[in-house]
């Protein structure tokens, strides 16, 4: 192999390149997109969206097609209506959020854990990268991924409803005003839990286990305490329950599973706790151990 005399370009001027957080986040996104796992979940979410749109069209037909008036009453009993229907756009009765949890666990579980396993962080921190840049990159990816996935679920049913039925369509004209903040909070909760769990894990597989363990484990504990103490507010310790509660609250469902106060406190506690854990675990002193 030939050895060449070193001839390198001039040193770059600082602050001329992209922000390090964007560089790291983009690298993670490209890595996920190049994996089969990304294609599998892409397929699953597209199928879910198609089911959602089909249900929307069925609703539209039930309201407009006289031939279906015979089954309208029965269908209205089976299908959710009003605020419940709007809230279900983001949750699909728990199916969509469960799929999303599984996806963030599988993809996001390795987000920080992979760097720990392969000792990539010391190398990154030896560049002009601050721990806050690293955390922002991982947080951006962890919360950005579920948010981007939820965006079509917010806008497509709304847009199609407007297109086929105008203002009298099954989806309210103002629905994005409720659904978009709900999607953002869902993404933040999932992102924070994923980030914290992944930073606790020593490998991507362990990260997957940590994310599922935290979401399912806290749901089990919350359910147990709610049942024993006959106080549903205990479900607020479960990020899964919080993710389900926000669309209900923002769409003003008549009888939400969780009220505002426990939901706000639970969400705030999870965001602070897991961000704090991730910040502690991604310090340079942790990276070198």
């Amino acid at each position: 192999m030939p050895i060449y005399a070193p001839s390198l370009p001039p040193r770059p001027v600082l602050d001329q390149g992209l922000p390090p957080a964007l560089v790291i986040a983009r690298f993670d996104i490209r890595r996920v997109l190049s994996q089969r796992m990304g294609r599998f979940f892409g397929f699953m979410f597209v199928v879910s969206l198609l089911i959602q749109l089909t249900m929307l069209y069925v609703k539209y037909l039930l309201n407009t097609n006289a031939a279906l008036s015979g089954i309208k009453d029965f269908a209205n009993q089976v299908l959710t209506q009003g605020p419940e229907f709007h809230a279900s756009i983001l949750t699909m009765s728990g199916w969509l959020t469960s799929l999303l949890w599984f996806q963030v666990a599988l993809v996001g579980g390795g987000l920080v854990a992979r760097d720990s396993l392969y000792r990539i962080r010391p190398l990154m921190y030896a560049h002009p990268v601050r721990p806050i840049d690293y955390l922002a990159a991982k947080g951006l990816f962890a919360a950005g991924l579920p948010f981007v996935i939820l965006l079509p679920f917010v806008f497509l049913p709304w847009g199609i409803s407007l297109l086929i039925a105008g203002l009298s369509g099954p989806v309210s004209l103002w629905a994005p005003l409720y659904l978009l903040p709900a999607a953002l909070i869902i993404a933040l909760i999932m992102g924070a839990v994923t980030l914290g769990a992944s930073s606790l894990a020593a490998s991507p597989r362990a990260g997957f286990g940590w994310v599922l363990g935290i979401s399912l484990g806290s749901s089990a504990i919350g359910g147990l305490l709610s049942g024993l103490l006959h106080q549903p507010i205990w479900m607020a310790i479960s990020p899964q329950a919080l993710v389900g509660a926000w669309p209900d609250l923002l769409c003003r469902v008549a009888d939400p599973k969780l009220n505002w106060l426990p939901t706000v406190i639970g969400t705030f506690a999870h965001l602070v706790l897991w961000t704090f854990v991730a910040a502690r675990r991604t310090r340079p002193s942790e990276a070198v151990l």
Binding site: P6, L8, R11, G17, Y118, P128, V288
Partner: protein, 310 residues
């Protein structure tokens, strides 16, 4: 001229554990290679973590280019770091990884592309750089790691155990590269726990042991220190008595232990003793069957030096 690296009683604690005792040394400005030598657990990686700005010193002062390196982009942008280890995430390819590292150094666009091409050509990886890391040999992966450290044209290169696990050919290749980089004006600090490896590469050595800087100087000076260390040689011979008779006549002999199939000699200054042994064998004075150095490893030398300095 201000030194490239300057440590003034710099120390590092991991909680209650002292990773590095107060250490003082300087690396001069301009090109050159310095070997950081010490057995496993000596504190080499700790010192490198201080120099690469990963950790602040618990006491004392670390200066690189006259500034503290900890979280200092001005210093980090002039420093290239090749950390220890050889693992890369599954499926990761060389070029995207290199691109990310270049972007983290502040490069972008055509400047980044040019820097990548030149860094890959410096390390001889133009053809193989696009491969996944899993398909590269250990030597290739190490060269890619060196390429990422060279992307932003650093003045100071830090390499933590770069020769670990490399085959002799790849090792020589990497040594050639480092020498040419030093000739081109880079100050390079290479850590290793193998004396022979560092001696082939550099004129200047820092000896670390149990978190202490034990010795600092040229290879010749360190060798002189090592010559005072009694080395144990197991000599297999038809007659152990003949070996003993011959050995006691030499000043270098410190201790003698008889064994069934020979003798174990503890000798000082093996560099003067071994030629005498060779001459005796050639002259037929010694019925030698085998020669086995027992403790020429670095740990034994360090043990000796520590006792010597106590």
């Amino acid at each position: 001229m201000s030194p490239t690296v300057s440590l003034q009683r710099a120390s590092l604690r991991y909680g209650d554990i002292l990773g590095l005792s107060p250490t003082t040394f300087e690396l001069p400005e301009g090109g050159g290679i310095t070997g950081l030598l010490g057995p496993n657990g000596a504190g080499k990686s700790t010192l490198i973590q201080l120099l690469s700005g990963l950790l602040p010193p618990s006491g004392g002062e670390v200066r690189i280019f006259g500034e503290a390196p900890f979280r200092n982009p001005q210093v980090l942008s002039r420093l290239g770091f090749v950390p220890e280890g050889d693992r890369f995430p599954t499926g990761l390819r060389g070029i995207p990884w290199l691109r990310m590292m270049g972007e983290l150094s502040g490069l972008r666009g055509s400047g980044l592309q040019g820097a990548m091409e030149r860094a890959l050509s410096v390390v001889g990886m133009e053809l193989n750089g696009r491969k996944p890391f899993s398909e590269m040999s250990k030597g290739m992966r190490q060269r890619m790691r060196l390429a990422q450290a060279l992307l932003h044209n650093p003045e100071f290169l830090l390499l933590d155990e770069p020769f670990n696990g490399m085959d002799p050919e790849a090792r020589l290749l990497l040594m050639d590269m480092l020498r040419s980089l030093a000739t081109a004006g880079r100050r390079i600090l290479v850590s290793s726990h193998i004396l022979g490896e560092v001696a082939q590469l550099t004129d200047r050595i820092l000896l670390l042991f149990r978190g202490r800087l034990l010795a600092e100087g040229s290879v010749a000076e360190i060798r002189e220190l090592l010559d005072r260390h009694p080395v144990e040689l197991r000599i297999g011979a038809e007659s152990a008595q003949a070996v003993a008779r011959w050995a006691v006549e030499h000043d270098e002999l410190v201790a003698l232990r008889m064994e069934e199939a020979g003798a174990v000699l503890a000798v000082r200054n093996p560099r003067s003793f071994l030629p005498k042994l060779q001459a005796a064998v050639l002259a037929g004075e010694l019925p030698l069957l085998s020669l086995d150095p027992l403790d020429l490893n670095l740990d034994a030398v360090f043990q000796f030096l520590t006792k010597d300095h106590a």
